[in-house]
Each structure stands twice: as C-alpha cells, then as structure tokens.
Symmetry: C2
Subunit: 465 residues, 2 copies
C-alpha cells in the first residue's frame, strides 16, 4: 500500500469503507437470527412490569427500575454494566378529577399532562369553549377566552407508521400556552390516541416562555365526545377541574448501559436500546418495556452466539425519555468526545408490533450493506426500504451529531390505542411478535458491529417521534 | 255455539286460544317493521348518556334519569306516562384504592362491588392468598385465611349467548361470605368479564346471613394477572386496600311507565322495557341505555303505526335492576291483582348486539304464533327457536307468577368486555344494530298485543341473568 499515491488511496478508502459483507458473515448472522430463544423478550417485559410496574422518571419506582435493569443486564451476562446519572425537572401528578357542573352534571375521565401545573387548592370552575383544532384556537381573538376553559377537540388519525401522531400532538404540547395567550384559565384536550376507550392519554406538554402557565389535562376520547355533545346542545357548559400536579425541584435517574465488548475494535460502538422510564398510568409494557425487552434479549442472543462482532454492541436502557429525552441528551453531552466512535444507532420505542421494514440514515455508498442485512432479515418478512423512516427518539441527540442510524420499522397500527394510558400493560404484547423483533435487532446490531468499516457520518435527518 | 257440549267447548277453546294470526295482521306487522326510523334508538341512548350519564340507583342522577324518562315518554307521544315508587337499601361507593406494598410495590386498579362495606378509616393491609376458583376457596380449611385477603382468580369464558356469566359470577356474589367463613379480612376477585383491558367490572354482591361482613372488590383482568404473576414468584404478597363504600339507609327511585293503550282490550298488557338505572362507572350505554332506547323507540314506532293493537303495549324503564331487581319485584308485588292481565313480557338487557333468534316461554299450543311472528322477523335475520333462552331479569318476577315471556336473543359476544365498567359508553353502540332491534321489538310487541287471544299462563321457567 505504501506505493499508492495519496489521491488514489482516498478513492480506495471510499471503496473499502463501503465494502460489502463476506458470505460467512451472512451465514453467521443467519445462525444468530435463528438462535433467538422464543419468549425471551416477553419474559423480560413481564419481569419489568410485574416487579417494578409504572416507573415515571424521578419516582422511587424509577430508581427500582434502574436497579432492575442493572441486575437484568448482569444476569444476561453482559460484559460491562454501568449507570450514568441524568437530571431533570421533577414532575408529580397528584389528584385529578373533572366533572361537568351544568347543565348535565356528570364526571369526566381526565389525566393531567406531564409538566402541567395544578389548579391550586380549590377546583377551578369555568365555562368551556370548544375548538375543533389547535389552529382554530390560535385564530380566536385575544382575550376571548378570558375566564374560560379551552377545549381542543382535534382528532388523531390511525396509520401503520403512526404518522397521525405528529399533527395531533401539537394540541398536547402547545395547547396550554396557546390557550393562555387568549386568556384561558385552563386547557383540556381530546386525548392524542386512536382508540374509543375510556382511558385518557397523558404525555408531555411544555409552557412557552413569557406566557402565563395554566393547567392542562386530557379527556379520554369518549369523554371528549360527551363534552362535545353537551356543548353542541347550545347551553353554556360549566366544568370543574381539580388537578394536583406540580413541577418542583430536580429529579435524578440513570441511563443503564450494558456492553457486549467487540473482539477487535471495542472502542467503536453500535447503540441499540429502549427507554426505561414510563408514564405512571399503565405498567409501561408497550412504552417502552417492549423496547427494553427486545434489545436486552437481542444482546443476550449476541452474547450466546459463537462469533463476537468486531465492535462493541451497547444496549442502553434510557432514562426519562417521556419528559423530554433527558437521558438521551445527557448521554450525548457526556460522550461528546467519543461521538464519532458511535458508528450506528437504533432504538425500539414504538410498541410491540412486528417489524415490516429496515431503513437507514446513511450515505448512499453504505446502502448495499443494508440490502445485505435485509437478505438475512428476509425470512422475518423485513425488506430494506432505502428511503423514509427516521431514528428513534433517544438516538436522536447522537444522530444530530452525525451518527448514522437504522430503523426497524414496526407496525404501529394499534400503538396509539393504549399509548400513555393505564391500558399500557403486558396484555397488549404478543410474545411471538417480540421474538421476530429480537431476531431483527440481533442481526442488525451484530452485522453493524461486524461491518467491514464504519458507516461514515451523516447530516442530521428529521428525528421521528 | 249454545248447542255444543261443554267438553267439546273446552277443546274448541284451546283451539281458539291458539288460533293463528290473520294474513292482514302479518302485512300490518311487516309495515311496522319497515317503518322504524333509522337512528331513533341511538338518539335516545345518546340523550340519556349525555344529559344524565351514570345513574346509580338512589343517587341524585338516578332521580334526574327518572325525570328524563318521563319527559322522553311524553315527547314520544305515549298515551299515559306515570311513575311508581321503588325502595331499596342505599349503597354508596366512596373512595377505592389498592396497592401492592411488598415485594413489588405498585398500584392495582380495583372497584368495590355493589353492596360491599368499606375498609374503615385506615386502609386494610394483609397478605394475599390466591385461589383459582371459588370452589378452591370453599375447600380451604376453616380459619386458614385468618388475617389474610382472599383473591379469587376465576376466569369467565366468552360465548355468544353469555352463558359464561352464570358460572363466573358466583365469585362476585358469594366470594365475600365464603372468604369470611375461612377467616379472611377482605376479598378481591378477578373481574367477571371477557376483556383484557384495565377496567375493573363492578356488580352486585351479597352477604350471607350470620357470616361476618368483609369488604369486596374486583381487580381488572390485567391487574388480576399482575397479582397472580407476583404470587407465583413465591414470596408473600402484601396488599393494601382502601374502600370507602357503605350500605346505609334507604334509597328511593321509580319505575317509569309509558303505555300505548290497546284499541279494544286496554286492560290486557304486553310488557317490554329495559332498566333505567346503571352502575356508576360508565354512562350506562349498553347496560341498559340500549334496552331503554330500543323499547322506547319500538313504542314510538307502534304509536306512529296506522293500526293500534287490541291490547296495551307497556314500556317500562325499570328502577334499580342492578342491585337486585328492586323495580321489578316492587312492580310485580304492586300489580299482583292484575298479574293475569300481563299476557306477555320481554326485556332488552343484554347490550346492543344484533338479535339472532326469537324464543318464547309459552305452552306448545302457542308456538305456531311465534313461528308466524318469526315470518315477519325473517328479513331481520331472526328465526324462531322453539327451545332454550330465558326471560330478561326484570320480567322475571312476573314470569315467576305465570306470565308467558318472549326473548329476542342478542349477540352478546362482546357484551362482557365492557359490562359494568367505565368503558360502558355510547361508543360501544352500533346505531344500525339498534335499528334492527327496534324493528324486532316493535313487531313482537305489536303482534303479541294484537294476538287472537292471550298466551295462557306458564309454569315458571329458569330466569336468565
């Protein structure tokens, strides 16, 4: 190689970096794919949801979840297990109750949105003004909601890829501040969900700078319909809201990290994982016990495989995803110096539905490798789709810094039926569907970690979720 | 006729009493069937669930439901609308909370069973002992549950005709007293339901005479699974129960009765209806807003029909079915003298699923009439089944006193998914399915009221539900 001119070396290095997998690697990956123990991921989710259950960031249960994850990584035989601290604003839920006072008195099922303030000592009681969409509220005259409760009644559409979430979630994230700008005392929204069940969907909201903070809550879909039907009858509808939530002090949690050390380039890392925290209403089975269980079990399959990959496979159980990617942001900042050693990342945070496509955020020269990975995934029904998709939420902060990403796109048709509700429980999970995902994550992580070279760096893509 | 001997007259009278419908009656009934206004029943259920909502017997909301029913009967043009008082023991729910204290602390979703006492000022805290069935609990040694909470984990099976309910409901009705006999401090049961959602199912329980009264609550199915999975891990599981329910004083409600006066035998009555009260968790859409809506709309169709039937059609919105057929028992006692004038009864109290069969509890000589009624119902997909079925709960006390009954058997495959839960809301109802049932009830009531004679008297059948 010493005699090759520099310019030619540069060309060669491009060619080398984009080299394909050797056939024996494909054989080994296929063996890995077929070695997954049926029910392994389900057993991990069952353990987490039974032994810990709800684990909202910063709670005592969240700390038990951290200990659970450390112990589970160790029991699965990961080479190194460690925790890294994550700090964030501490939110507590407290009481929550709503009822129509007049003209048709009856209770409504609500839940406070994450980050919301409470209504104070006394329940707040006011007339409700309904808007079909957040845009309609934004178009209302300034001061027109003075002394009123705003009700934003936008509906979420159902799609396999969950693309109805983005447009619908704005009323959750921004509804309070938009309503406050018009003078409202509080905001209630139709839950961001695709179900017709009487479970309100919680989720994070944020207050805009310089705008009065008002309480924010979600009605279940049937309760939003009820309130709509009452309002449509034409008489003023008075609602009483009693919310005890508060945002006070600082919370502490931990990213829990399990490494499978690479056999020759251990400093280079492929990151997979799910987030460890959950909302407090359900047991966090689909969001995101499934992601934790799938990627821990994928790691266990790699550990049990005859051939260690060249590079390290890192499984991260991310802290506090729900309230703003706190674990992910902390990790990306703390590991800023090794950021280029993170050669590929993928997160499982879209429930427990089967994977239907492999996608990747890499330069075109690396795409043939993903076509090869998809050859190994073909018996699982997973083709490579060269366009579309996006990185999972917790790998986002790394992707923004140039890390290539892959996506094992899951069928999320039903995901938003129970997302962020009390009904996010183990019963939502099909164990065989998890097995398919474990096989897919094991193959992806192993092949990425055993790749002929890294995957270059990429410009920041649009981060999904 | 004067010259016919008495014994021959007796034979003839049997023959006459079992006479069939004339062809013009079949034509009129078919016209009635086809005259039903689409959406009429759904609009009534929407009105009841929106304007009143939950209406547990004895509550202020129950009184509003009574006023609602009076006004609705009047608005629909019934000839006479009246109310009849019904008294019963008054039960209130109060607070309800359960959580596992050790070894896996997390909250469990429960609801107190109707009629249960509370746990007192302090939450009750004790170890849980699990039984797969009520029979297993009954087989436990005396005193073996001393200081413990009994958990009865029996499962309900799903069938179109709901026949899984009877065997499953015994743990709800009798579980507390059976557990108390073994020394238990409280009982929790797996909800009597066929769903996998995180809604506990309430429903009435009863204390046996002379047995210590202990609190009784139902866990949702996922929570029962959770508790089971914890107990199966082998360590003692401690549960804290906090139930504020109490049974104190006397409640007052009303049967609300709307009559459509018969054109020549107004004193003879065909009874249809549903029950007006509901449990307090949902809005009582399928149980039993549907039955009220279906039978009120059937009455409205008969009122709008060109030909009044010979006899009176009486639509009854029954008071307090849920806590023990109080309205039905009171009516049967109050109308004891006119009991033989109640020539046929049917109740709609099995949700909102389509009718798939007509059945009747009548002597064999009247069966050909039901075959004729089924001819008219054939376009609705409703055949006559000469055996099986049973009277609805609220006609039971009249049937026990000899009143013949008919049943329009509904598809209850999904009924116990949301029965007695917060998820019993308008969204569970398909308006077109209600239309089919309105047509069926209108035809049945009109033809029964226009029959060539009454339907005799029958020995008491087994009363369903």
């Amino acid at each position: 190689m010493r005699s090759i001119p520099a310019f030619l070396l540069a060309i060669l290095s491009v060619s080398v970096s984009a080299a394909d997998y050797r056939s024996e690697q494909l054989v080994q990956a296929a063996q890995l794919r077929d070695s997954v123990v049926p029910g392994a991921a389900h057993a991990i989710v069952e353990s987490l949801t039974t032994e810990v259950g709800p684990r909202m960031a910063g709670t005592e249960a969240d700390m038990r979840a951290v200990n659970w994850a450390r112990a589970k990584f160790a029991a699965l035989g990961f080479d190194e297990v460690r925790i890294e601290p994550v700090k964030f604003p501490l939110w507590t839920r407290g009481r929550e109750h709503a009822e129509v006072i007049a003209p048709y008195p009856q209770p409504l099922r609500i839940t406070a949105l994450g980050g919301s303030i409470g209504t104070g000592e006394q329940p707040l009681q006011a007339e409700v003004v309904m808007f079909d969409t957040l845009a309609d509220l934004q178009a209302a005259a300034d001061g027109s909601l003075s002394g009123k409760i705003a009700f934003i009644n936008g509906r979420m559409e159902r799609f396999r890829d969950g693309r109805g979430y983005g447009p619908a979630v704005a009323q959750r994230g921004n509804g309070a501040s938009e309503a406050a700008k018009k003078g409202a005392l509080a905001v209630v929204i139709r839950s961001v969900g695709t179900d017709l069940d009487r479970f309100p969907h919680t989720g994070q909201m944020r207050y805009a700078e310089g705008v009065t903070r008002i309480p924010a809550a979600a009605l279940s879909v049937p309760d939003a319909n009820l309130l709509q039907h009452m309002i449509q009858r034409g008489q003023p509808v008075t609602l009483a809201l009693d919310i005890g939530a508060e945002l006070r002090g600082e919370g502490l949690s931990y990213n829990v990290i399990g490494d499978i050390r690479g056999r020759s380039k251990p400093e280079e890392v492929v990151v997979i994982g799910g987030h460890l925290d959950s909302w407090d209403l359900g047991t966090g089975a689909i969001d995101d016990g499934a992601g934790v269980g799938i990627t821990m079990a994928a790691g266990a399959a790699i550990l049990a495989h005859a051939q260690r990959p060249l590079r390290t496979v890192r499984v991260i159980a991310w802290a506090n995803e729900e309230q703003g990617l706190h674990g992910a942001n902390t990790y990306a900042a703390a590991h800023a110096k090794e950021i280029t050693q993170h050669i590929l990342g993928a997160e499982s945070d879209f429930g427990a539905g089967r994977v239907y496509a492999l996608r990747a955020g890499v330069s075109t020269e690396y795409q043939s490798r993903f076509a090869q990975i998809a050859e190994v995934l073909a018996p699982l029904g997973i083709p490579y789709e060269p366009t579309g998709g996006g990185a999972g939420p917790d790998v986002g902060p790394l992707v923004v810094r140039g890390m290539p990403w892959a996506q094992l796109a899951q069928d999320g048709t039903d995901y938003f039926d129970t997302h962020h509700t009390a009904n996010d429980v183990l019963e939502r999970i099909d164990s065989a569907a998890l097995d398919q995902q474990v096989a897919a994550y094991a193959v992806l992580a192993w092949m990425a970690a055993d790749a002929p070279s890294d995957f270059g760096r990429v410009p920041p893509p649009v981060v999904a979720k």
